[in-house]
Symmetry: C2
DNA sequence: CTGTTAGCGCCTTCAC
DNA sequence: GTGAAGGCGCTAACAG
C-alpha cells in the first residue's frame, strides 16, 4: 500500500506539503495541490487511518452499542445513525450486546481499545464497571431510548407518553371499554413509561380501570404470551388488547389463539406499541404506534457530535405516529 | 488515558517488559508479570488499538458489508458473525450498503482506510472500482449469499436448490397443481438459483408447467405485488403461491387481497423462501423454507480467518430447514 | 507557501 | 529475562 511518502516523492514535494494538500489545508499552492492529488490518484493512495488516529489523538469513529441488533427498531435506528455519521465524516462502529451485560462489556472494551470519539448506547440494565471507566475517562456519551440511573448523559428516545395517548385515543374511537394491557418490565424505562401513561390515561378515555385486565411480560413473545394467559385465566374477556411493544403483541396474539381459538381471537382488536409492516397481514390487522427509529438514530448522532465538539446536547423525545388498520380506519 | 509507559513506570520495569507481559509473551519472569498486570489493572490500562495496528501492520478488525441491515436475514447473519469474530479475537466492523453501489463504495473506502484485515461482502451488483482495488491489494475476501462475476472468492450462502426442493415437496404433499411462483431478479444469483430450481423441479412434483403462473419481482414487496397482479390478471387461479423471499411473499399476499378480497385470498396457501416469525400469524399462516443466517455468518467468518491465516477456504452451501404451518402440518 | 523534524503508543529487534 | 532504541505512517510545529 502506498504511503504519503510515496505520494510526496511522486509529486516531487515534501511529505508535509502532501499532508497539507491531502487534508485540505488552505496553505498550499495550486501547483502542488494538483500534483499531489494526481500522484495520490495514480498510486491509489488511501490514508492509513490508524497512523492518522495515533497522531491526531482522535479517530473519527463513533461506537453504537445496541441491545439487540435483530430487533427492527434497532436495525432501522442503526441504519439511519450510520448514514448520519457518514454524512458528517465519521465512521460508525456498530455492535450488539445481545441483551447481555457481559457481551456489552466486551464490546465496550473493544470500543475503548479502538479509541472511539464518542458512544451511542442503548443500555440493557444498570451501570457496569466498563461503562464507569468510560464515563470517568470523559468519553462523550449519549443514551438511546432507555435511561440509565445515575448516568448524566442526554437521552434520545421515543415519546412514550405521547404514543400511549395516541393508542388510547384510538381505543376510545373504536368504543372499547374492556381493554387488556400487556406491559413490559418495569426495570426498563420504556416499560415503566408506557405502563404509567396507560394507567394515567385510561379512565379519561372511557376504559375500564379493572386491574385484572393488566399484566406484564418481559418485552419478549414468550413472556408476553404468559402474561396474556394470566389475564384470560382471570375470567375477563377484553374486546381489545394493547401490547407494549411488538414482541409483546406477538406473544399476546399467540396466547389468545391458544386459549380462545383462532375464530374468537380474530374478533379481538389489537393495538401495539412499535409498528412492523406485517401487522397489516395478521388477522385481525394490528393498529400501531409507530416509533420513529431513524429520527432517533439521527438525533442521537447529532447530539453526540455536539458533545464531541465541546458543546452541550439536550435530551430529546421523538414523536410517534399512529397507524390505524382497523376496519373503517384510515390506513 | 494510561499508556504502556505509565504501566511500566508504575511496575518499575522497562516498557519492553511491560509490552511482553501484556501481549502474553512467554519470556517474562513471574515477578515482572504479576507487577505489570497489577499496575495495568490499577491504572485501567487499555492498549491503544491504532498505535498497535500501526506497529503490527494488522488491525484484528474484519469488515462486514451487507446490502441491507434492515433485512432480518442480514441482521441475524451480522449478529452471529460478530459473535464468532469476537470469540476469535477480532472486532467486526458492520456497515450497510443500503442496496446502493455508491454507499457501498464509500464503506469500502472507510474499510480500506481502517486497514481491515479481511472483508465479508454481500454484494449487490457487479464489481466496482473500489472493490477491484481491494482485490488488487490482495485483501482477503469472502462473499456472502450472492456470487459476483469474475471475483474468485469463497462463497458462503444458502442452499437454494435444496430449499426449493423442500418447498416443492410440501406443495406436492398438499396436493397443489396450480401454483404461482413469484421470483426475484435474475441478476441476483439467489433469484436465478431459486427460479431455476423451481422450473427444474416442478413437473416431477406434479405441479403445472404453465408459465402464466410464473412472474418475477425485485425481491421487494412492491415489485412482488406487481408481479402477483400480472399473474392474476392473466386469468389463472392458483391454489397456492410460492414467494422467492420474505418481502416477495409479503407483496404477493398484499396483491392477492387487493385483487381477490381477503376472504378468497385466505384460501390460497402460501409458501415462502425465508422464514420470519410472524408468518405464523398471517391468514393463512405461511409455511417457509428457513435460511440458516447465523450459520452462514459463522461459516463466513471462519472461512475469512482461514484466508487471513494464509490457508485456503472452500465455498459452502448451508442447508435450509422447512417450517410447515399448514393445517394438519407439523408445525 | 514549503521543507524538515519530532513524536503520537506500541512492538520488536538487538544487546546485554 | 530485561532494557534501550528504532520506526510503523502521519500531522503539526517550526524554520525558512
Amino acid at each position: 500500500m502506498a504511503t504519503i511518502k510515496d505520494v510526496a516523492a511522486r509529486a516531487g514535494v515534501a511529505v508535509g506539503t502532501a499532508s497539507r494538500v491531502l487534508s485540505g489545508s488552505p496553505q498550499t499552492s495550486a501547483d502542488s495541490r494538483s500534483r499531489v492529488l494526481a500522484a495520490a490518484r495514480e498510486l491509489g493512495y488511501i490514508a492509513h487511518g490508524p497512523a492518522r488516529s495515533l497522531r491526531r489523538a482522535r479517530t473519527d469513529v463513533l461506537g453504537l452499542l445496541v441491545s439487540d441488533i435483530r430487533s427492527p427498531f434497532f436495525s432501522e435506528l442503526a441504519h439511519a445513525a450510520e448514514q448520519e455519521a457518514r454524512a458528517r465524516g465519521y465512521t460508525l462502529l456498530l455492535a450488539n450486546a445481545n441483551e447481555d451485560a457481559e457481551q456489552a462489556d466486551a464490546v465496550l472494551d473493544a470500543f475503548a481499545s479502538q479509541r472511539i470519539d464518542g458512544l451511542l448506547l442503548s443500555p440493557q440494565g444498570p451501570r457496569t464497571p466498563r461503562l464507569e471507566a468510560l464515563l470517568a475517562a470523559k468519553l462523550p456519551i449519549v443514551l438511546l431510548n432507555r435511561a440509565i440511573e445515575g448516568v448524566d448523559a442526554p437521552l434520545y428516545g421515543t415519546d412514550n407518553a405521547g404514543g400511549v395517548a395516541q393508542a388510547l385515543a384510538w381505543l376510545q374511537r373504536r368504543g372499547h371499554r374492556d381493554v387488556a394491557f400487556i406491559g413490559g418490565p418495569e426495570g426498563f424505562s420504556t416499560g415503566a413509561e408506557r405502563h404509567d401513561a396507560y394507567l394515567a390515561g385510561r379512565e379519561a378515555h372511557g376504559i375500564s380501570t379493572d386491574d385484572a385486565l393488566i399484566d406484564a411480560g418481559d418485552f419478549l413473545a414468550d413472556g408476553a404470551a404468559e402474561a396474556m394467559l394470566r389475564v384470560l385465566d382471570r375470567g375477563v374477556r377484553p374486546t381489545a388488547v394493547f401490547g407494549a411493544n411488538n414482541q409483546t403483541t406477538l406473544g399476546a396474539m399467540r396466547a389468545m389463539r391458544e386459549r380462545l381459538g383462532a375464530e374468537a381471537a380474530s374478533r379481538i382488536e389489537v393495538v401495539s406499541f412499535d409498528d412492523v409492516e406485517w401487522f397489516a397481514f395478521t388477522s385481525p390487522p394490528v393498529s400501531a404506534v409507530r416509533n420513529d427509529a431513524p429520527a432517533i438514530g439521527r438525533a442521537g448522532v447529532r447530539g453526540l457530535l455536539d458533545l464531541i465538539d465541546g458543546g452541550t446536547a439536550a435530551s430529546q423525545r421523538i414523536a410517534t405516529s399512529f397507524v390505524d388498520r382497523s376496519e373503517g380506519g384510515r390506513a
